[in-house]
């Protein structure tokens, strides 16, 4: 890997960390297109539990890994939501880069082989 590519990657990662850690604090908190469609027709209480009606999300189950320390893009135990999102977003970017780049590196075509 050349030094020039290294700088590009570092710059790109910095942008991604800023987007995930900082800008995401200003993202819309409305349900997304899928979630909004799934909730339409049901009524919800303050905790987000379905109280009545008919909708796609009616039979929705809990996430098997809902107790993950990073669940819902926050760090469990961190009270300040800005700090929580900052840390979770940064961790997500770095983990995704590490996992992705690592797997792609292992799978890459070696020079001199045609596999």
């Amino acid at each position: 890997m050349t030094k020039k590519l290294g700088w590009f990657l570092a710059g790109g990662l910095l942008v991604a960390v800023l987007l995930a850690g900082v800008v995401s604090n200003f993202a819309s908190s409305s349900p997304d297109g899928l979630d909004a469609t799934a909730r339409e027709g049901c009524t919800f209480n303050a905790e987000g539990e379905i109280t009545g009606g008919t909708c796609i999300a009616q039979e929705e189950g809990e996430h098997q890994l809902g107790d993950s320390p990073l669940a819902d893009y926050g760090i469990r135990g961190v009270g300040n939501s800005f700090v929580s999102t900052l840390l979770a977003g940064t961790a997500g970017v770095l983990i995704t880069f590490g996992v992705g780049a690592g797997l792609f590196w292992v799978a890459r075509r070696r020079q001199g082989t045609d596999a």
């Binding site: 993202a27 997304d32 990073l70 893009y73 970017v93 995704t96």
Partner: protein
């Protein structure tokens, strides 16, 4: 249940249909890995890691599309342009797997459904449009931006209809399919426009800074111009 759900949750599509799509997703990803190896060299591998990390970041940025409805980038088209279709599908899958396992976003049972819609269908639709549009549009930052925009809008709507298909096969509730399809298509057309703007900005920026890192500028070759070839021969 207070969640920042962005992908299909558990229990919305039944177990058997979810299992079928999980098998389908694993098989398709294995095929992608085989094809991706031809593209993955020492430059593309770290670049693909960055593309996955960038998609993870931008998926956290929900933007408002209608009152009470938001959306976020899915990333298939962006990945196709920057790292190609096979590696691109693997990038989006990596994001979905990390989100599911670590961030409790998108049900574990529903992972095959989410991968099918966003990583496979979305990327495939994006690829077909990118390959087609780059035959007629100029291969520079502007041409790439227009391509990214148009392909993103179509790709996001196609991915949304993937969910409608899965819901039709195994939905645990019985809402009117035309209604589900229409509602999903409307919100995802708007989400696609947002995604298109983000993808266009991103690829145009990379094309200006490091055009050599843009897969779509290296590959998807134009067919040889017949007339010139004839003259030269």
């Amino acid at each position: 249940m207070e969640t920042t759900a962005m992908h299909i949750a558990n229990g919305i599509v039944d177990g058997p249909v979810s299992a079928v799509f999980a098998v389908l997703a694993v098989a398709a990803l294995a095929f992608c890995v085989r094809k991706a190896r031809n593209d993955l060299d020492e430059r593309l591998a770290p670049m693909a890691g960055l593309v996955a990390a960038f998609i993870f970041a931008v998926q956290m940025l929900n933007f408002q599309v209608l009152p009470g409805v938001s959306g976020h980038l899915l990333g298939g088209t962006l990945a196709v342009i920057l790292v190609g279709p096979w590696v691109g599908a693997l990038c989006v899958s990596t994001v979905l797997i990390v989100q599911c396992l670590l961030f409790a976003d998108g049900g574990l049972t529903a992972l095959g459904l989410n991968i099918t819609n966003m990583a496979l269908l979305g990327t495939a639709a994006g690829y077909l449009l990118v390959a087609g549009l780059l035959r007629v549009l100029p291969r520079n930052a502007q041409g790439l931006a227009v391509t990214a925009f148009v392909a993103s809008v179509v790709s996001v709507v196609v991915a949304s209809q993937g969910f409608v298909f899965e819901y039709a096969l195994g939905g645990t509730t019985e809402l009117s399919l035309p209604w589900v399809s229409g509602t999903m298509a409307l919100s995802h057309t708007l989400i696609g426009i947002g995604e298109g703007l983000i993808a266009a900005t991103t690829v145009a920026t990379v094309a200006k800074v490091r055009p050599d890192l843009v897969y779509a500028l290296r590959r998807f070759r134009k067919p040889a111009p017949v007339v010139e070839a004839g003259v030269k021969a």
